[in-house]
Symmetry: C2
C-alpha cells in the first residue's frame, strides 16, 4: 500500500454520469482511462461528457493542462482492472452488485493498487467484505459534475489501511479536487446527509402547499445558496446578523465542537463575503440566471434612467468625466498592479459613456448601428493598486462621417495623476453588414457639438505617436 | 392602499445588522432613510455598513446608481414613522416588542403607507394584531447582507390587503431585490425552514462526532453549495446523476407539485450549470477561498510543470504559438462580439507565456524583477464571436537591455484568420524601486536566442504605425 508508483492509468467500473465524469477529469489531466461498461451507448455518452468537460476546463483555467490521455470502453471487468494504477468504481447503488464486481476486479488488479468506490451511501466496511485484500478499499465519493466540483469524500472501512486513504486523497488532489477525509463511517457520509435534510424539508413544504418546487429553488438561490457557495452554515452563522438566533426550533447542543472555523475577524470576513458575493452575482449575470437575472434587470433600469438624463448633459470645453470606480482586488496581477486588460475595460466603459452621451447608446445599437473600436494605443505611466479610486476622462480629438478619434486618460482619484492614456479610433458600423457607414443624423447631432466644444482643448502631446524601439523602429 | 405615491423616504425601526442593511440598500438607491434606534453607537455602526455597501455596489455594477440619499438616526419611533413613505421594521425577534412598536409607529404614519416586518419567524397575523389598519402590514424578510442578497420573502397575514403585498414587492424590486411572494403564512417562511433543516443535521453530525464545524462547511462549499448558488435542490436533482436516487432515506411523496421547475432540456441545463460553476470557481479563486483556493493550488502545480518544460522548447524562426483557448459567452459585449478588453487579456496571457519561456516567469517575478507593459497598440481586423476557438502568436521585433518590442496576432482557429494585432513595448523593472533596469543575465540568456531566431522573420507591415484620422493627425 505504501507508494504504489506513479498513476498513469485509471480503471473505471461503470461509465454512467459519475463514471464518465471521472473519466473526463482523469483524461483531461493526462491519464489514460479504461472504462468497463456493458452499455453499447457508453462510448458515445462518455465522449459527450469529456467534450463538455474539455470546454469547461478550458474556461476554468488558463493554466497549461497536460496533453489529454487516451480512453477506451471495455466489456470485461478484468480488462479495466489489469490496466489500472488506480481503480474507481461508480456502479449503481446496489450493495450486492458492488461487492461482487469489486471482488471480480480485485482478482485482476496488481498488488498495491487502491480501489475506491464512488458510493454516496453504502459503508466501506460492507463493500470491502468480499475482498481478499480489504485494506485497499476506500470510498471516494464525488459530486456531479465530477470534472468541476472539487469535493470528494474519502472514507475508509473497518479493514482499510490508512495509507490507502492517504494515497486516494493524494491522487484526487492531483486531479484538482479537494479530498475531505472522514473521521468515521456513517450512512450518507457528510454532504449527502446535509443535502437530504434540505431535500426532506423541501418535500414537506411542497406537501403542505407552502411552496412549489420552483419557489423553493428560488428561496435557496436568490438567498442563502449564494452564501453556501463559499461559506458553509457555520461560517455563515458568524455573520448572520442574528438570523440563526432569530430562527425558531433550532436544537441547542453544546457548541464545543464548533470552534474550528477559520479565525478571521468579522470585518475581514464581511469584506471577503461581499467580494465573493459580488463576483458570484456578476457570473450569474453573464449567465442570465437566478440572482444574476435580477441584477441584469436592475441594471437595465439604471442605464435607462441615465440615458434619459445624459441627453441633457452640457457640452463644455473640458474632457468628459465619463467613468469612475475603484480598483477591485481581483483585477490585480502577479506584479501586484492593475492587470493590463482591466485598463482597457475601464477605458471601454468610459468610451461607452461618451457614446451614450452622443446618442449611440444601447437603444441605437439595438436598432442596428454601433461604433466599433478599430485601433487602440495604450500607454502606461504609473501603476494602480488594489482599492484605489479612479476616474477616466474622454477628449474627442476629431471626427469624420464614419470615425471618431478619441483620447482618454485614467486618473488616480487621490491626486489626479494620469496613470494611463488610451488613444482610440472608433468606426461607425452597420451591424447587419458589418461594414463601416456614416453615423446617422441623430448621432451626428450629439457628436458635432462635442467635437466643436473639444476643438478648443489643447491637443495631448503624445497623441498620434507610434511605438518604436529606436530610430529604425 | 392603492398607489400611495412615490417612495422617497424609508422609515426604519431598528438599526442592527438587518436594519442597517436596509438603510444601505435604500440610501444607495437614492432614497432618504430615517432610522429609529436608541443605541448611541447606532450612527457609527450604520455608517460602517453603508460604507461596506457602497464599496460592494460599486464593484457589483457599473450601471449608474442615482445620487445617494441622506440618512439620520432618531430616538423617537414617531420621527421615523412621520417621515416614512414606506416603513420597515427590523427589531429583535420578540413578538410583544414588535407588536407594541408597530402600533406606536402606525399612529404617526400617513394613510396608505405600507409597514413591513423583517421578521424571520413571527407570523404576520400576530404582528398585525395591534394595528388599527392591519391590512397595511406585510412581512418583508431579507437576508444578510441585505445590500447584496436579492431574496426578500413577502408574506401577508390574515388581515393583509393583497395590494400591500404587491406594493412591497414592487418597492423591493426597485431596490434590485427579488421578492418571493409566499402563498401562505408558516413558521419560518421558506428559506429559513430550509436553512434550519440543514443546520439541525449539521449539529447532529457534530454531536455524533462525524464531523467538525469546519469539515461541515467544507462539505458544503467545495461541493453542493457551489450548485445551490444558482440551482435549488429541484433543478439540481434534474442533473444529479442519480445522486438523489442513490441517497438513502429520502421521503417518497408524490411529486405532482414538483413540476414547475424551468423546462430546459438537459444538455442546455448542463452547459448553463458548467458555465456558472466555472465563473463561481474563478471568483472564489480571486478571493482565495473554498473551491477557488483548491483551483489556485491546482493551477500553480500546472504552471510549475510548464515552466520546467518551457526551458526545453526550441527556438525556431517562427512566431511562438503562445496561447490558445476558446471565447467565453461572458466575454461577448452588447454588439455580440468579443469585448475589447478581452483581446488584451488574451494577448496578456500570450506575452506572459513568452516571458515564461525566456525565464521571466513567476519565480523570477517573486525574486524581484519583472517586465511591465509600457505601451500597447491594438488593431481590430475582424470580429470574434462566442465559443470560437483561437490562438495567439508572439513575434519578437527587437530588444535592448531594458526593453522588449513584440508583435502579437490573434488568430481564429477555424481558418487561421488574423482578427487582431497587438504591438507592445515591455519594460524590465526592478519591483522594489519601480524603475526600469537591465534584464538579468538569466533572462538575457533566454531572450537573446529568441531575438536572433525572430530576426529572420519578415517585419509586420503595420508595426510602428500611429493612429491617425488624417494627415494632420
Amino acid at each position: 500500500m505504501s507508494g504504489g508508483g506513479t498513476i498513469r492509468t485509471i480503471g473505471l467500473l461503470g461509465g454512467g454520469v459519475i463514471g464518465a465524469g471521472w473519466a473526463a477529469r482523469a483524461v483531461l489531466n493526462g491519464l489514460d482511462a479504461v472504462i468497463c461498461d456493458p452499455d453499447p451507448e457508453a462510448a458515445r455518452r462518455i465522449a459527450a461528457v469529456i467534450d463538455n468537460a474539455r470546454t469547461a476546463l478550458s474556461r476554468l483555467t488558463l493554466a497549461p493542462l497536460p496533453a489529454a490521455g487516451t480512453w477506451r470502453v471495455v466489456r470485461r471487468v478484468e480488462e479495466a482492472a489489469e490496466a489500472a494504477d488506480f481503480m474507481q468504481e461508480s456502479l449503481p447503488e446496489r450493495e450486492d452488485l458492488k461487492i461482487a464486481l469489486l471482488a471480480q476486479a480485485e482478482r485482476a488488479m496488481r498488488e498495491g493498487v487502491v480501489i475506491a468506490s464512488s458510493t454516496a451511501g453504502l459503508k466501506p466496511t460492507r463493500l470491502q467484505s468480499g475482498l481478499r485484500r480489504p485494506e485497499r478499499l476506500v470510498v471516494g465519493h464525488p459530486f456531479n459534475p465530477v470534472y468541476l466540483l472539487p469535493l470528494v469524500e474519502v472514507c475508509g472501512g473497518a479493514a482499510t489501511d490508512a495509507a490507502a486513504c492517504r494515497r486516494a486523497a493524494e491522487f484526487y488532489r492531483g486531479l484538482g479536487m479537494h479530498p475531505l477525509l472522514l473521521r468515521r463511517e456513517t450512512d450518507g457520509f457528510i454532504a449527502d446527509r446535509l443535502m437530504e435534510a434540505l431535500w426532506r424539508e423541501a418535500l414537506f413544504l411542497i406537501r403542505d402547499d407552502v411552496a412549489t418546487a420552483a419557489e423553493i429553488d428560488d428561496a435557496i438561490r436568490f438567498g442563502p445558496g449564494l452564501r453556501w457557495a463559499f461559506m458553509g452554515p457555520f461560517l455563515t452563522s458568524r455573520l448572520a446578523g442574528g438570523e440563526q438566533a432569530q430562527s425558531g426550533p433550532a436544537p441547542k447542543w453544546p457548541r464545543t465542537r464548533m470552534t474550528d472555523v477559520p479565525d478571521l475577524d468579522d470585518a475581514s470576513l464581511e469584506r471577503l463575503r461581499d467580494s465573493c458575493l459580488v463576483g458570484i452575482l456578476q457570473t450569474l449575470k453573464a449567465n442570465r440566471i437566478a440572482g444574476g437575472a435580477a441584477l441584469a434587470e436592475y441594471e437595465a433600469a439604471l442605464w435607462q434612467a441615465q440615458a434619459a438624463a445624459a441627453r441633457h448633459m452640457s457640452q463644455a470645453a473640458a474632457p468628459l468625466h465619463a467613468f469612475a470606480g475603484r480598483i477591485e482586488p481581483g483585477w490585480i496581477d502577479y506584479n501586484g498592479h492593475l492587470t493590463e486588460s482591466r485598463y482597457l475595460q475601464i477605458f471601454s466603459h468610459a468610451s461607452d459613456a461618451m457614446l451614450a452621451l452622443i446618442g449611440a447608446d444601447t437603444a441605437y445599437v439595438a436598432r442596428g448601428h454601433s461604433f466599433y473600436t478599430a485601433e487602440t494605443h495604450l500607454r502606461h505611466l504609473a501603476q494602480m493598486h488594489g482599492d484605489e479610486a479612479f476616474y477616466a476622462t474622454v477628449q474627442v480629438l476629431g471626427a469624420d462621417a464614419k470615425r471618431v478619434h478619441i483620447w482618454q486618460e485614467l486618473h488616480r482619484d487621490a491626486d489626479g495623476a494620469v496613470t494611463a492614456t488610451c488613444e482610440q479610433m472608433l468606426l461607425h458600423v452597420d451591424a447587419a453588414t458589418g461594414r463601416a457607414c456614416p453615423a446617422l443624423a441623430e448621432v451626428r447631432a450629439g457628436l458635432d457639438p462635442l467635437v466643436a466644444a473639444h476643438a478648443a482643448l489643447p491637443r495631448p502631446e503624445a497623441a498620434g505617436r507610434a511605438i518604436r524601439l529606436n530610430q529604425r523602429g
